[in-house]
Symmetry: C2
Subunit: 241 residues, 2 copies
């Protein structure tokens, strides 16, 4: 859907794209660019256990030609409560598929709400009304703030929270992956030329950034590549491979 | 409404109270405490032009016996766009009452949305479902995210964003000042014994913390004390007094 390609003379519309360094948000960036948006990528340094995600974000923004890239520091981990930000809670490995719908300990309280709110503030200063986020209701690891009803509700709230909203409710949160499987996401991104070797998904990599292959995120990613019939470029730890 | 005083044996319910150091949020703290909540005050270091607000927050939390006090650092000002965080935009003085409904340049993009989202994350780690915020729809300086429809919408979004929400939609955002005039707020707080000399409202104080007396916030505060018939304990700059 290259919405804006029909009018090549018009100035590009600006969008804010939330970038985590994983394959979902990288695919979202490719989709937003394909739709003609000039994309400002926004990554969050939120007290993650490891820094490989942020390094991946910088690589991706640079290599894919984002209009700008910004890392917003917010120490959400100071509140504790998640295995993704607290080293005292173990990242679960080899979880049963049957329990994937439970809210896992890797859940960061209200993370997407906080991130979208900040992205909205950023968008407002850019005079941009479009936000892109790679949430996914299929392979979503059980996080409540990845569900479409959350996004819909956020959009209503965002339009009430801001100048743009007051001026006519124009803010749109795009979720192009919302009903795609991991395999479909990978197929979509591959068709758009995304180089997934740049991306990082593992919750618990070794110090070189190699993926553990066993956390929820690795399991979803690995089976996604298999189902998509696309070679998996992920570098796994020696002990796992 | 001391909701919980009827059951003195029960453990106190915990609440998160957003504290800005001004008279509104200080009154909210007094009201929440009067309702029997053990209050955890949350202030934001968000790149304000001056530090007097944060010093006021610490004084207030200490003097009023908050259960805990926390300053959350979030550099929302890095996006620019507001006179409250950018020293290159002048704080408006002596604004016409007729223009008080316009959105002023002191508006910080999506501020209450960002702050409430973070407060929600904090509440979730405390197992608290109650948030208190001193927004006000009467003397509200024209900020879109102070309107009751924004708060209502945020509550729906919050319940969809979190574990608590998934478990039954229990999150409540209390806005005890929403339909009070500044004078009524001051009367309410005074009846509860609030010492307003601790509070700071001015957008543009001098280096000693004395209030300018002319910004929107000072104008509302000053006329509030007058209308309430309560002596104004604010220390104004010599040039103004």
């Amino acid at each position: 859907m290259p919405e804006l390609a029909h009018n090549p003379d018009s100035a590009p519309r600006h969008a804010v794209v939330l970038l985590s360094g994983g394959l979902d948000s990288t695919t979202v960036l490719a989709i937003a660019q394909d739709q003609g948006y000039l994309c400002h990528t926004l990554a969050f340094d939120y007290g993650q256990r490891h820094r490989h995600e942020l390094a991946a974000c910088t690589r991706i923004a640079q290599q894919m030609g984002a209009g700008s890239h910004r890392v917003f520091t917010i120490d959400i981990g100071q509140f504790g409560g998640s295995a993704l930000t607290s080293s005292s809670i173990e990242v679960p490995k080899d979880r049963d598929e049957a329990h994937m719908d439970d809210i896992p300990v890797t859940y960061v309280p209200a993370r997407n709400l906080v991130f979208l709110s900040i992205a909205l503030a950023f968008a407002e200063t850019l005079n941009a009304t479009d936000l892109f986020i790679g949430v996914n209701a299929i392979d979503y690891s059980g996080y409540p703030d990845c569900r479409p009803e959350f996004i819909e509700s956020f959009m209503l709230t965002a339009n009430l929270a801001t100048k743009f909203g007051v001026e006519g409710g124009k803010i749109k949160v795009h979720t192009p992956l919302i009903d795609l499987t991991k395999a479909q996401i990978i197929q979509r991104g591959s068709a758009l030329g995304v180089d997934y070797s740049m991306t990082h998904s593992c919750y618990d990599p070794d110090e070189t950034g190699a993926a553990c292959g066993r956390c929820d995120s690795c399991v979803l990613r690995r089976s996604g590549f298999e189902a998509a019939g696309v070679p998996d470029p992920t570098r796994y730890t020696a002990s796992h491979a």
